[in-house]
Amino acid sequence: MSKRLTTWLLIILLALIVLTACSSTPKQTIQYEGDSQMQATITVMYSGGLNFFNKDYGDLFRAKYPNIEVKVVTASPWSNIEKVLEEQKPDVLLLSYEDYVKLMDEGKLLDLNNVITDDAFNLEGMNQDIIGFLRQSGGGKLYGLPPYFGNTGLFYNKDLFDKYNIPYPQDGMTWEEVFQLAKRFPVEDGISGFYKNYLGALRYNMEASQGLKTVNPKEMKVTINTESYKKLFGTLLDAYQSKTLEVKDYGEDVYDSFITGKSAMTTESYYYLNNNIYWAKTDRGDDFHLNWDVAAAPVGESNREAAPMFMFYSIYAVNANTSEAQASWELVKFINSEEVAKMKSRTTTHAIPTRTDYMYNPEGKRMEIFYKNINMDWSLNYNRQDKRIPNKFNSAFSNIMNSEFMAASRGEKSVDEALQSIQERGQEELDKQLAEKSVEEGK
């Protein structure tokens, strides 16, 4: 070749090399397993602060990665994530499902697909409904992992059912069927078939089971005046008036009517195990004889195979802007690992491990109901408060419903009159709250 051509080729070659080197965007490539002795400092969002974090994960993590310093930013998955990202710039993020989707869409989360699917991680050990759904939300890719999730179960007292020769509740029962079962318990013996600490929670469970919304957020209309709701209200009223349903708030006292064996059933979240059942067992030891088990939370007639109360809690992800991608991934991996799940399986937890094989179940109860039939689209669509509706409205409306319910229960008005009242008062309240909200936002 001519000298000129060679020179040009060399220049081009050099340029290419330089460009390739320089154009390495912050897309650091991470390996599944980095060097456990690696030095790094990372910040993690955690709702419990440093001390809770250390007890939960930090101490164990440090044992494995002695040179990774972990700092904690106290923030919950419910914090204003934009603010946290801007002000604290954490490497490892703790996100609600909504924030996970939002940040993922905005390209603010590190792509973890290559490493998550590594065989060594044993992704199949995590509940596939949940993982599948997350992947679906990410257009086929995973940007984070949830070590826990939430769900509700129907707790029942086997001894009470045996005593009165009533068949145990089954998975896939509707609320009507549950109350029919509850009715068979003799009120005159001081036993209530069903217990709930407050009416609002019970009503909410019943609405969720049928996908009934009391407010249409698109049109901002209260939607109580339907046949379905009338039926729900009627069922509840009948159970309450016949004393089949006991509603009593024990505050923070763990020994409620179900725990003390006065009520045959209750619906509660998985949290009830840690907070009440196992707590009481630890407190009273051998004196605690509750012979309990669980069935799937009651459903709607149209869809008996659903998990209406499924909830995402926190999803761990890595900030796309991190300068410590490998170390951040190590923490996310660690928190979601089999190793940690196994360690935590020795005691009860507040929520259900996504690695469901490691659910704490020393007495061999029907814990599988907590992760059965997780129909994601449906429950995510239903659950959690719709942010378009002012939060103040939610409690105001619930109180309107309670007061009308009580009036009906005392015979002061008919079901129709009560529902009409709820509809009117509810709409008035909603309109008022929306007006106030727009005044506030106008400022």
Partner: protein, 433 residues
Amino acid sequence: MSKQLTKWLAVIMLMSVFLTACSSTKQTIQYEGDSKMQATITVKYSGGEEVFNFEYGNLFRAKYPNIDVKLINNLEDEPDVLLLGFDEYGEFLDEGKLYDLNNVITDEAFKLEGMNQGVIDVLKERGRGKLYGLPPQFSNRALFYNKDLFDKYTIPYPTDGMTWEEVLQLAKRFPIEDGEGGLYTPSLGSLLSNMEEAKDLRRINTKDMKVTVNTDSYKELFETILDASESQALNIFGHDGFAKNDPFITGQSAMAFEYYTYLNNNIYWVKQERGEDFNLNWDVVTAPVDKSNREATPYFFIPTIFAVNAKAQNVQAAWEFVKFVNGEEFATINSRTTTNNIPTRTDYVFNPEGKRMEAFFSNLKMNRTLVSHSYYENIPISFLNAFHGIVESELKAAAVGVKTIDEALVSIEERGQQQLDKQLAEKSVEEGK
């Protein structure tokens, strides 16, 4: 004069003497009567004879040996000396039921200026410039802190006029590893109550008996408390109210928010018990406030005002009693040991170690607690306890992440309202009986 006229004059004279004597509803009293006077006075007091004698009776009898003091419980029996709460004091003076003590109270010998101006101003304001009674003591709270712990970690001491948020920030700076922590509180619920009072947040609208916690102000408050709890700024030590070994006393917590009685019941009590072994290096700053008003004294309170019944049988003796318990002599005697509440004659505060006691009584201002104590009258007492339990359980759920704060607020309001409605219904059934 004729015999008949003389007779009539005598009758008229006798009658007018008689009438004058009987119609003296407005007996004029002197500042100082004869300390040997013989009289019987009744005092409305519900604390029992033993406590009364210990607090007032024995000392009073030493000075006035011939005044017999009887304790009664019923207002209908028109006691001579009334012990009134601030609201009652206001009502009674409005209705003319209290004897006007202004002439005698202002006597030079009484040294009214030796009584705390803030307290006197509050009473004068209520009485439209006039005084109808006096409190020998009043109540307030302050922030106690452990100087040694602050020094140990090189953290600056708290200052007067700090907000609750600033106090919590300060508390966060203390490490937990060594078992030492920032702020001691018996429960999250009590911290919530304390902060509510400073911010004048009411959890119930008593007009329509509605629980009102699902508001922006409450949300912010719950977030602050939750944050403090999660970052372990708090050292929570629940007890029945009688424990003498709370984390502040044991030197594990750097701060505690307490009533003046904490001195009597805890600090000096333990000091007496343990003597040399008790080395708590404590001091006080003014009670934390809300950022909207750093000058406020939200916890200042007047529990008992001594007054003379307008219908008293023996006004002079009754006044002697009121004068005595509010006098310098009484304050001097009491200054030798700790007292339950702060002496209104604040110069006589028991303070052997020269601590910043003025934190309890400087710049006292009329505040909402004084003005609207009747807020609590219509709320069933059992509701407040139940509500604390509800708040604790919901905050806990939010803390472990199974609920958002918004969800917790909705639940707190729902559960609170359900509980309030239930207790109001029970209360009216009870009262209907």
